[in-house]
């Protein structure tokens, strides 16, 4: 009953999306006033119906209704409750429903909260948003129905992949989806602007908060995903340039460039073409990402829900929407008047440099990820992995850091190099640090040393916009920028420390023996069986001591039952200066009393994800600042109430 209700709500929402598209068209062309008047209520209703549908699916998972095929295939009566619920989106159909729901909620949110964009552009944007929704509704209803029934219903269910039975599943997909799909708003706004040839400063001011919101979610989503993979997959790596990881990074790169570009457009009315293009590219990357992850065309350790047939459907949608939008861009961007001009040395041009570098990095990641396919088409079999991506992107990222230091110090429109004198101090700090660390740490990679030094430099440089200001009266938006850039410095420091100073120890230990790593002595004190809610495990108890303090680590080898799968659960000990990471594996068979232990000491590694959250927090402050400015200045402005 609930399942049928959920499906019915979905169909209804789909028809409303069609209506929204027509109403949007009417508003854009100013064709039919009554039809155009439907736009707002229809969009809100569509969002609510999708929410209802998604809620129905969550309910079905909550009560473990095994007569629904999706629940039977992904859940089990004995699973812990939190994973029963999170399993709603831990599969293809459920996560597609999440995608569609966020898309519909975006329409509703635009209808509820967007008040500034002029009516024709806004109507055109909502038409585009509805058009996007329609394609995905079709995909969901015809090729990925989450509410399909299973008759007869099984007794227990197949269970969820143990690697997904983790708190990370509760955070990573939803935040990532709000980010990915939230970029559709920027996409639709850009399409609207192309259709009405209105891409000026007021357009940018309207679009900016939407970009910011999506970007914040994406940042949190990627950070969560990286940390989840780090502790779940058991080899201590936090980024592998794996195709699925790249699929999430590419929209983020585009969104970051877009964020900076739209700010320039909003405050200086420059970079119109860049901003429109980046808005289209960002959502294009979202669609590409979901295609890569689901179609199975690339091998990945993170791949889930692989189905080439459904992949083809998404590819078709991608060609339709992105191809359509990019064609519109090529044809109509000439009609968008060029924005205000600026000189070579100016803040605008620093942001152009930022855009260029981020776009080049995006292109490198895109090409590198897809190149094995291209090579195979040419008859060669090659692999493209971390060595390539690191060698090509890190130098460019270092250049970006330079711009980060330089940009905020330059004036808009035109400046001269003397404004950069303030950089003498951070510059000296960077050089001194780099030389000092290099001299006292022989054998450590140059990249790590440089990264650490640059992180210090960025930290200092990011504070410069605050110089000479009354800190209590500085706008939240400036604070947001400062903190976001500071977060970047923290992340880079963590990455450099981890890559340069991690120590690893492999040891075969009998109970009572110990191994040393990174200043810690780790002794295996016991190995015992342990029972969990839907798993059993062999748990090793390790006593880790350093500088007189002792802690207990309990890595496990788990055997899950539904489905039957073994996992290794690493044990992490987090200190202020790093993490101790321990993994237990059975030893070689002729030494039954010995256990294979893998230990890492990773200095400052938690800064990587802490920094990511700080970056997102900076974005959040900027978002609050925008809202404050908007509602303080023009509280009555409301496009929906205009004639």
């Amino acid at each position: 009953m609930i399942a049928e209700l959920g499906l019915a709500a979905l169909w209804l929402a789909a028809s409303l999306a069609l209506l929204q598209m027509l109403a949007g068209w009417a508003g854009w062309r100013q064709a039919s006033e009554p039809l155009a008047a439907l736009l707002r209520p229809v969009a809100i209703a569509q969002g609510l119906l999708c929410l209802l549908s998604f809620g129905a699916l969550i309910w079905l998972f909550y009560i473990t209704d095994l007569s629904v095929l999706l629940v039977a295939a992904n859940s089990h009566v004995d699973k812990p409750m939190i994973f029963k619920i999170a399993a709603t989106w831990g599969n293809h159909e459920g996560s597609m429903l999440l995608w569609v729901t966020v898309l519909a909620l975006s329409s509703a949110a635009i209808a509820l909260f967007e008040r500034r964009l002029d009516k024709p552009t806004l109507s055109a944007a909502m038409m585009a948003q509805a058009a996007l929704s329609l394609g995905f509704f079709a995909f969901l209803l015809f090729a990925s129905n989450p509410f399909a029934r299973l008759d007869p219903a099984p007794q227990t269910g197949a269970g969820l992949n143990p690697l997904l039975q983790d708190i990370g599943l509760a955070f990573h997909p939803p935040t990532l989806y709000f980010g990915y799909v939230g970029l559709s708003v920027a996409f639709s706004f850009a399409v609207g602007a192309l259709l009405t040839s209105n891409a000026g400063a007021s357009f940018a001011r309207a679009m900016r908060p939407w970009v910011l919101l999506a970007w914040i979610f994406l940042t949190v989503g990627i950070t969560a995903g990286s940390y989840w993979a780090y502790y779940e997959l058991g080899w201590g790596g936090w980024w592998f340039w794996d195709p699925v990881e790249n699929a999430s990074l590419m929209p983020w790169l585009a969104a970051t460039a877009l964020l900076h570009s739209v700010s320039v457009l909003a405050s200086r009315d420059a970079l119109r073409a860049w901003t429109i293009m980046l808005a289209l590219v960002a959502f294009a990357m979202s669609m590409l990402g979901t295609f890569l992850v689901r179609s199975g065309i690339l091998t990945s350790v993170h791949a889930f829900a692989v189905d080439p047939e459904r992949g083809s459907f998404i590819l078709a949608l991608m060609l339709l929407y992105i191809g359509g939008a990019l064609t519109l861009f090529a044809l109509k961007i000439g009609q968008v008047r060029e924005g205000k001009l600026f000189r070579l040395i100016s803040r605008e041009s620093a942001i152009v440099g930022n855009n260029i570098l981020l776009s080049v990095i995006l292109a490198i990641v895109l090409l590198g990820t897809l190149w094995p396919l291209a090579a195979e088409a040419m008859g060669d079999r090659i692999s493209v992995g971390p060595p390539y991506f690191n060698k090509t992107t890190i130098p460019l990222v270092f250049l970006l850091f330079l711009l980060l230091a330089v940009g905020p110090l330059l004036k808009w429109r035109g400046d001269d190099a003397r404004s950069l004198r303030k950089l003498a101090i951070p510059g000296a700090v960077v050089i001194a640090m780099a030389v000092g660390v290099w001299a006292t740490n022989p054998g450590v990679s140059l990249w790590a040393i440089l990264g650490l030094a640059l992180a210090a430099g960025i930290a200092l440089a990011s504070l410069f916009p605050l110089l000479g200001r009354n800190l209590l009266r500085t706008p939240l938006t400036i604070w947001g920028m400062v903190i976001a850039h500071l977060g970047l410095a923290i992340t880079v420091a963590g990455m450099s420390a981890e890559s340069g100073w991690t120590s690893e120890k492999l040891a075969a230990l009998a109970i009572g023996e110990s191994a040393e790593v990174g200043g810690w002595t780790v002794q295996l004190t016991d190995v015992t069986p342990v029972v969990g809610e839907n798993w059993i495990a062999i748990e090793g108890r390790m006593s880790a001591t350093s500088k007189g303090q002792a802690f207990v680590l309990t890595p496990q080898m788990r055997q899950f039952f539904n489905p039957t799968q073994q996992t290794t659960e690493a044990a992490l000990l987090t200190r202020w200066d790093g993490q101790l990471y321990a993994v237990l594996a059975p030893a070689t068979s002729d030494k039954r009393e010995k256990w294979q232990v893998r230990l890492w000491w990773k200095p400052l590694v938690t800064l990587i994800w802490f920094g990511g959250l700080v970056i997102a927090f900076g974005g959040f402050l900027a978002f609050l600042g925008r809202l404050r400015i908007r509602f303080r200045r023009k509280p009555e402005e409301n496009v929906w109430k205009q004639a």
Partner: protein, 176 residues
Amino acid sequence: MKRNWLVWMPLLALAFVAGLAIFRLANPNTDYVSSEMVGKPLPEFTLPAATDGVEGLTTANFRDGKPRMLNIFASWCLPCQAEAPYLDQLKAAGVEFHAIAIRDKPEDVAKFLAQNGNPFVRIGADQDMLVQLQLGSSGVPETYIIDGKGRIAYQHIGDIREEHVGPLLKIYRSLK
């Protein structure tokens, strides 16, 4: 105008990506890695007998002028059991087989041979997969065709099925 051709770049990129995607969707991933050693001489190795009643395997066993097939298998490998009847077919057609058992205990190999028959003249035991690496082999089962001089002429990846018997025989016979 510079802007003119630039604005078509993103669309071009999309076309490139779509082209690759369509290529892959039309030609699904082969998922296996071929050995680069095909066409080269068999690497030098000496392997002990995999179980009682069979003899071990060395490279010299392949260099006596007679072409042979080398089957890489393991008792824990299900497709290896599935291909047993086709190995018998090839043997009946005159093919001489040697084999390498990967990561197997002698008793498991004996059980496997008892259940599926033993078409092999010699079976070497490669407990730690090091000889497998030498061959450029990436898994089980695989079958190599070795010519009389000990050169690897062909690599068949995966289990041998009905449709493979004919072509394999043809290559084998061409080496005589």
